[in-house]
């Protein structure tokens, strides 16, 4: 079976562009703190979601709604309403991370298909099967800390479908278990749906250099005129012991297009593209390329060459943990 391309959409226009470009599945979120890309001007209100689902279904595509932050104590009703509204909009599945929300959804919306978000950091077959047995989870988005052989080993031991990130931003920390951002800024992926938020970024010119700060902490310094990467905390330049450099991760983005055949052999069901904050033209181009790749694979043709390099916005690309270089 052809591998499923799961594509992000931050706006209704991006969703339509992705559908037309051949995405099998689109994932998106409501325009509030219930999703992990809670950026200004992004995401869908309830009316837009209903129309988006209709549009996608008319064109043979599916829609997943990410409700994958951890509900705030005292305000769970906001998250419960998001699940109910997603079901009412006719979405094909919800992507959840929180135990309490999984339990609520399994009990009160049993007919709504449940996927486990990468934010749940389910990194082995035992815990994946636990989520399936306990909450009826049908698919898990695997954390970006696993190698291809580890993914193959998981698929050999579970009936749950696996979805893996193949392109876009790269977390080097186990997702859903990182509070670096709230330590520096007060806002975190788990609680607020943001990491290294733009509201806390400052660019300061200092004697021919350009400093990028987050929450007052210097993350990068480049010479004036050089491209300044966004100050994502874990990809900053720091000093430890005798060494100064990108101690956690280089400012790279993930591109696992060359690994698609290996991921298919490893039993992966779906390939996920990161980037609900991206433009519709970016999304459309990434989708076209990945769709061409999985169609070529299915037909036994070689993969198209080097298709996505120019979409990385000048950033270096990495295959992340997949190639076992971490281990």
């Amino acid at each position: 079976m052809v591998m499923e391309i799961v594509c992000p959409a931050g706006t209704p226009a991006a969703l339509r562009a992705a559908v037309k470009a051949g995405a099998h599945t689109i994932y998106c979120g409501f325009n509030d703190e219930t999703n992990a890309r809670n950026f200004p001007g992004l995401n869908f209100n309830r009316v837009e979601m209903r129309e988006a689902v209709q549009f996608a279904h008319q064109h043979g595509s599916s829609v997943l709604v990410a409700i994958n932050t951890f509900p705030r104590a005292g305000d769970e009703a906001i998250w419960h309403r998001a699940v109910a509204d997603a079901e009412a909009c006719g979405v094909d599945a919800v992507i959840l991370a929180d135990l309490g929300l999984l339990d609520h959804t399994a009990r009160t919306h049993p007919g709504l298909r449940r996927h486990l978000s990468v934010q749940a950091a389910a990194a082995n077959a035992d815990v994946i099967n636990f989520y399936a047995d306990t909450f009826g989870v049908k698919r898990v988005v695997l954390p970006r800390v696993l190698s291809v052989p580890e993914i193959a080993a998981i698929n050999a031991e579970t009936e749950v479908e696996t979805e893996v990130f193949v392109f876009g931003g790269l977390c080097v920390m186990a997702e859903g278990r990182c509070s670096l951002s709230s330590y520096a800024t007060g806002l975190s992926p788990n609680m607020n749906g943001v990491c290294s938020p733009a509201s806390h970024v400052e660019y300061i010119e200092d004697r021919g250099a350009l400093d990028a700060r987050l929450g007052g902490y210097l993350i990068h310094r480049v010479d004036k005129g050089e491209p300044a990467p966004y100050p994502t905390l874990c990809k900053g330049c720091f000093t430890a012991g005798e060494k100064t450099g990108h101690l956690f991760e280089d400012p790279v983005s993930l591109n696992a297009e060359r690994l698609i055949p290996q991921l298919q052999k490893a039993g992966v069901t779906a390939l996920k593209i990161e980037g609900r904050q991206r433009s519709k033209s970016y999304v459309a181009q990434v989708v076209r390329n990945f769709r061409a790749a999985v169609d070529a694979l299915e037909a036994g043709r070689p993969l198209p060459e080097g298709m996505l390099a120019r979409l990385s916005e000048g950033q270096a690309m990495t295959t992340g943990a997949y190639k076992k270089t971490w281990r």
């Binding site: 951890f70 005292g74 950091a121 990194a123 101690l247 971490w326």
Partner: protein, 302 residues
């Protein structure tokens, strides 16, 4: 209010590890969580000492729990996790994989690396057998208050991160190994050189974080001195003190005096800073606008 000693987050020589837990038998803490939280590769160096430490601590009247790993990926780690329940003490889950292996029904405790952010999750864990939950350090006081109220009604004890470098992230990549140009499998146990973590500074020298193998910690030492009265009135059962390689017995004694009321608010933090003037303290997750903030005025300015 009671005191719990959390699992040691660092890699210490086996002999020093044993001395640390021997000392704890004589300290005024109520509960000790032993075992390896951060990296399964460290375990063979002291694993055989764990049963003896447990029996000594139990003999000294301490409640003892055994932690799971924080991130379970390898077959060996899954096996270790499955075996936790056979050790005869309460298991503290710090990855849900451990829960998958606990028999039902089973009483267990929940560590700070399990995401308990709301009432629904707390109720679900309580129904499953959780009797004690150390909340994630990231939670603000308003969440602590809401959750403690629900937990009290359910008979679940709530712990809050009381003192020590904050566990901010866990990864599949070992940063100590990366720093030394090594892979994780060939790490040569570089983290052993830093018994309290290795300081990570910005390139202009401002302390920010600390690396500890696959774990990333805060530079600052979280300190609940200024929060104890609010935590107590919220119904929090215990403060969690995180092991550090020096001065830990004195720290435990000070917290005991602080919760007994024989040490005034602020005096504990002052003592800690006097003993080590270069230390940064924080309590911003509970009461500030970000985790790194400190409500006191006496912090060393980096």
């Amino acid at each position: 209010m009671e005191l719990t000693v959390g699992p040691n987050q660092f890699f210490w020589p086996a002999e020093g590890w044993s001395v640390f837990y021997d000392d704890l038998t004589r300290s005024p803490v109520d509960r000790v969580v032993v075992g390896e939280l951060v990296c399964s590769k460290r375990l063979p160096f002291y694993q055989d000492r764990i049963p003896d430490a447990i029996s000594k601590l139990v003999g000294a009247g301490k409640d003892v729990a055994l932690t799971s790993l924080a991130l379970v990926t390898l077959k060996r780690e899954r096996r270790l996790t499955a075996e936790l329940a056979e050790m005869g003490v309460m298991v503290e889950i710090n990855d849900l994989t451990a829960l998958a292996h606990l028999p039902e029904p089973c009483i267990f405790s929940v560590g700070p690396l399990v995401n308990v952010y709301n009432e629904g999750t707390l109720r679900w864990l309580a129904a499953r057998g959780a009797r004690r939950i150390c909340l994630p350090p990231e939670l603000p006081m308003v969440s602590v208050e809401t959750l403690t109220k629900v937990a009290t009604d359910l008979g679940v004890a709530i712990e809050v991160w009381g003192h020590g470098r904050l566990p901010l992230a866990i990864s599949g990549r070992c940063y100590h190994a990366r720093l030394h140009g090594r892979s994780k499998d060939n790490c040569q146990f570089a983290c052993e050189d830093d018994p309290d973590g290795l300081d990570v500074l910005t390139t202009v020298g401002r302390p920010f974080m600390a690396m500890n193998g696959v774990q990333t910690l805060s530079d600052s030492y979280a300190c609940s001195d200024h929060q104890i009265e609010i935590l107590r009135s919220a119904g929090v059962s215990a403060l969690r003190l995180s092991p550090q390689s020096t001065g830990f017995a004195a720290l435990c004694a000070m917290y005991k005096q602080r919760i007994a009321g024989t040490l005034p608010r602020g005096a504990l933090a002052q003592e800690v800073l006097t003993a080590n003037p270069r230390l940064r303290l924080s309590d911003g997750f509970l009461s500030g606008s970000c985790g790194a903030e400190w409500s006191g005025t006496t912090n060393h300015s980096p």
